[in-house]
Each structure stands twice: as structure tokens, then as C-alpha cells.
């Protein structure tokens, strides 16, 4: 086996369809996701303050407890989905975890009662739903052209080369699902109060983007 892009796997778990492996690269990303999930679980949410321009006046925004609980739940689910996407060794499982990151990203902000935020979340959800087409399509073309969805098999370099279109579709799908740097309206979503939870949106999309870079370079 030539040296794969993410380093030599320390540990490979093959359990039926579930294939999990840890390389220096994926274990770093996994630990990052784990750390932030723990932070989300233990941290106390911020109280957002609006400052009136040109004076000393400020107002505190009221956020209900049930809203915060729902957002914390979504943020934890987002963390779990990111962790899954970091360590999975199966292309299709990776796309499913990515789609779950997309859903939970919408969920984190959807509980906010502000109309601006909800409108942005809805538009973002539409894009995420569009992105499932190239995402699953890419995975299917992977399977059609190489006959395998296992990243371990792709690493060995014995399979036929993956066509560029499959890689492109996979990347477009991931960009659509967790588009931290690409979606202008995500800034609108960040007007939602609640510091530790909103961070999870950005972090998860960053992580899945870093992982898809590795996945694309494998085959």
C-alpha cells in the first residue's frame, strides 16, 4: 500500500456495512468535533445585547428556555453527525452523515423566532435539499465506476480510477450541505442569538469540507 493522503490508518473496524478507520488526519478532525460537542453540552448560552448607537442604552434579548433546549439538542446532534462523517470509511455513509449535518444546521437556527433568521434558514434548507442530488449522485457514480464504496479499498490503488465528475459531484454536494464559506445568507442566520450553538454550524461545515478533501484525493 502506498502512503495514503491522510496517513497510514492506525485502526480499521469492519463491522458488516459499517467501516470505520482512524488515520492521523481523521483522528485530529474527530477529536476537534468531540471537543466542541462537549463544549456545547457543558457551556451556558450567551445573552445577546443590542447597544443603541450614539448612547449608553442597551437592551437584552429575551430567549425562552425551550428554544435554548431545542437548539442545544440540535447542536449536539450536529456534533455527533460531524464525528460520524470524520471517521467513517464508507463513501455512502459519509454522504448520509453530511446530509444529517445539513439538516441539523438548519435545525440549530430554525427555533429562533426572528423572521429574518427563519427566512434565511428556509433558503439555506432549500439549498441543502438541492445539494443531496449531487451528493448521492456522486456516491452512486463512485460505486458504478469502481465497484466499491469502501475508502480502504480506494486507498489501495488497485481499483479503476474514479472519474472526475464523481469527485466534482461529491464536492458540490458537500459545499451545498455545509457551505460555511460559500453562503452569504449564513451571516443572516448568525444573527440568531446563542453563541456556542451557532458556532457548531460553522465548525461542522468546516470539518466536513476538510474531510471531503481527503476523500476526493483517495481514489
Amino acid at each position: 500500500m502506498t502512503d495514503p493522503i491522510g496517513g497510514v490508518p492506525f485502526y480499521i473496524l469492519e463491522f458488516g456495512d459499517e467501516l470505520v478507520y482512524f488515520t492521523p488526519y481523521t483522528i485530529t478532525l474527530f477529536l476537534l468535533a468531540l471537543t466542541f460537542t462537549v463544549l456545547v453540552i457543558i457551556s451556558r448560552p450567551e445573552r445577546q445585547i443590542d447597544i443603541a448607537f450614539g448612547g449608553d442604552a442597551f437592551t437584552t434579548k429575551e430567549i425562552s428556555l425551550s428554544e435554548m433546549k431545542f437548539r442545544r439538542f440540535m447542536a449536539i446532534a450536529c456534533g455527533l453527525a460531524s464525528m460520524g462523517a470524520m471517521v467513517t470509511g464508507d463513501i455512502f455513509n459519509f454522504t448520509l452523515f453530511t446530509a444529517m449535518v445539513g439538516i441539523t444546521n438548519v435545525g440549530i437556527v430554525a427555533a429562533v423566532k426572528s423572521p429574518h433568521v427563519q427566512d434565511a434558514a428556509y433558503q439555506y434548507g432549500l439549498v441543502a435539499l438541492c445539494a443531496t442530488v449531487p451528493l448521492f449522485g456522486g456516491a452512486a457514480v463512485y460505486a458504478a465506476s469502481t465497484g466499491s464504496l469502501s475508502m480502504i479499498e480506494l486507498m489501495k490503488g488497485t481499483l479503476p480510477a474514479v472519474p472526475l465528475i464523481a469527485k466534482a459531484m461529491l464536492v458540490i454536494g458537500v459545499v451545498g450541505e455545509g457551505m460555511a464559506p460559500f453562503y452569504a445568507a449564513k451571516a443572516e442566520m448568525f444573527r440568531a442569538p446563542g453563541a456556542p450553538y451557532v458556532i457548531m454550524c460553522s465548525l461542522s461545515s468546516l470539518l466536513i469540507f476538510l474531510r471531503v478533501a481527503e476523500v476526493v484525493m483517495l481514489g
Partner: protein
């Protein structure tokens, strides 16, 4: 085989491009949402084109994720537009509600589903029952359905025990599992057909 596959994928890609083009021209939020449902189908088409057992196993999670995203989005849409619960007692299509058509279509689907058996058969038969309940309005209690669901579950578990401890009787176990899951999925789907909220006439 490669020839058939590439023609198939060409057709699916063209369908996807047409759907995306329609989406790009649409500005109404709700219509965009409906078009997205249409766009989901080519993605399932690409997976189904693999034409192997693997494809069958991959279509199901793909479909589930798509439906989950659509349910989430429709909830956000309702909250965003301030739509409250509306009284819906049955499918409001006059032709469907009055004639005998729903009964005939349901019977056809249920019979075909039972012949198919297994997960797919349960889906088809359940769709028939769901369609029937949706079009007729619904006033029964759910005890019968719950009982059928329980029995099918027990049958399924029995089949698993058979597989594990009495592998010689695999055919009996297979039949039990197939009948169990056809009942189970049918019941689940028909319950979906009765879910129109709390308000009924």
C-alpha cells in the same frame, strides 16, 4: 452494460438539469419547495441505475434523508408564514372522494403488495390502505391496526430466533419474516394515511 448505464445516466442528468432550470426561474418560496421534491427523484434515479442489491439498499436511506429534510423544511415554512393548524378531514378532490375509484385502486394495490411480500410489498399495500383512508375520511379506532402490528412484530422476532437457533428451518423463518414485515409496513403506512391532525368532523 456500460452502454445501458451511460444512456440511463444521461436521461437522469437531463431530467435533473430541467428540474434545476425550473427551480432557478421560480421565485415563490412554496413553489420552490415543491420543485425540490421533483429534484430529489433524479438523485434516487442515479442510485437506482446501479441496478444491484447495493443500489436497493442505498435508495432507502437516500429517500429517508430526503423526506426528513422536506419535513423539516415544511415545518420551518409553516412557522415562517405563520400558518396555523387547519381543519383537514379528508383529501379534498371531489372525483376521488365520491366514486368507487379509491376502493378499487386500494384493493389492487393491497393484493399486489401481498403478492410481492417483504418490505416492498408492505410499502405497496400500505400505500393502498393509506390512499383509502385519506380519500374516505376516517372514523374508526386504531385497535385492530395496533393488534396486527403487534402480531407481525412477534412473528418477525420469532423468525429471527429461528434464523439464529434453528438454522435448518430457514425457509419457515424466511416466510415468517416476510409475512411479518409485510404486515408491519402495511400498518405503518396506513397509519400515515389517517394522520390529518386532531380536528375531525
Amino acid at each position: 452494460m456500460w452502454g445501458q448505464y451511460s444512456y440511463g445516466i444521461l436521461v437522469v442528468m437531463v431530467a435533473a438539469i430541467i428540474a434545476f432550470f425550473a427551480l432557478a426561474r421560480e421565485y415563490d418560496d412554496f413553489h420552490k419547495f415543491l420543485l425540490l421534491d421533483l429534484i430529489e427523484i433524479p438523485s434516487l434515479g442515479v442510485i437506482a441505475l446501479l441496478g444491484t442489491d447495493l443500489a436497493e439498499a442505498l435508495v432507502l436511506p437516500g429517500l429517508t434523508v430526503g423526506i426528513a429534510e422536506q419535513l423539516a423544511l415544511s415545518q420551518i415554512y409553516c412557522v415562517k408564514e405563520g400558518i396555523k393548524e387547519r381543519r383537514v378531514s379528508r383529501l379534498n378532490i371531489e372525483v376521488v372522494a365520491i366514486g368507487d375509484a379509491p376502493l378499487i385502486i386500494s384493493i389492487l394495490l393491497v393484493v399486489y403488495g401481498i403478492l410481492l411480500s417483504g418490505f416492498t410489498g408492505g410499502g405497496v399495500a400500505g400505500l393502498g390502505l393509506a390512499f383509502f383512508f385519506v380519500s374516505r375520511g376516517y372514523k374508526e379506532n386504531l385497535n385492530m391496526l395496533e393488534m396486527a402490528s403487534g402480531i407481525s412484530w412477534a412473528l418477525w422476532i420469532f423468525a429471527f430466533f429461528c434464523f439464529m437457533f434453528l438454522p435448518d428451518y430457514w425457509f419457515t423463518a424466511l416466510m415468517c419474516a416476510a409475512v411479518g414485515i409485510v404486515l408491519k409496513v402495511t400498518v405503518k403506512m396506513s397509519l400515515v394515511g389517517t394522520m390529518w391532525g386532531e380536528y375531525r368532523d
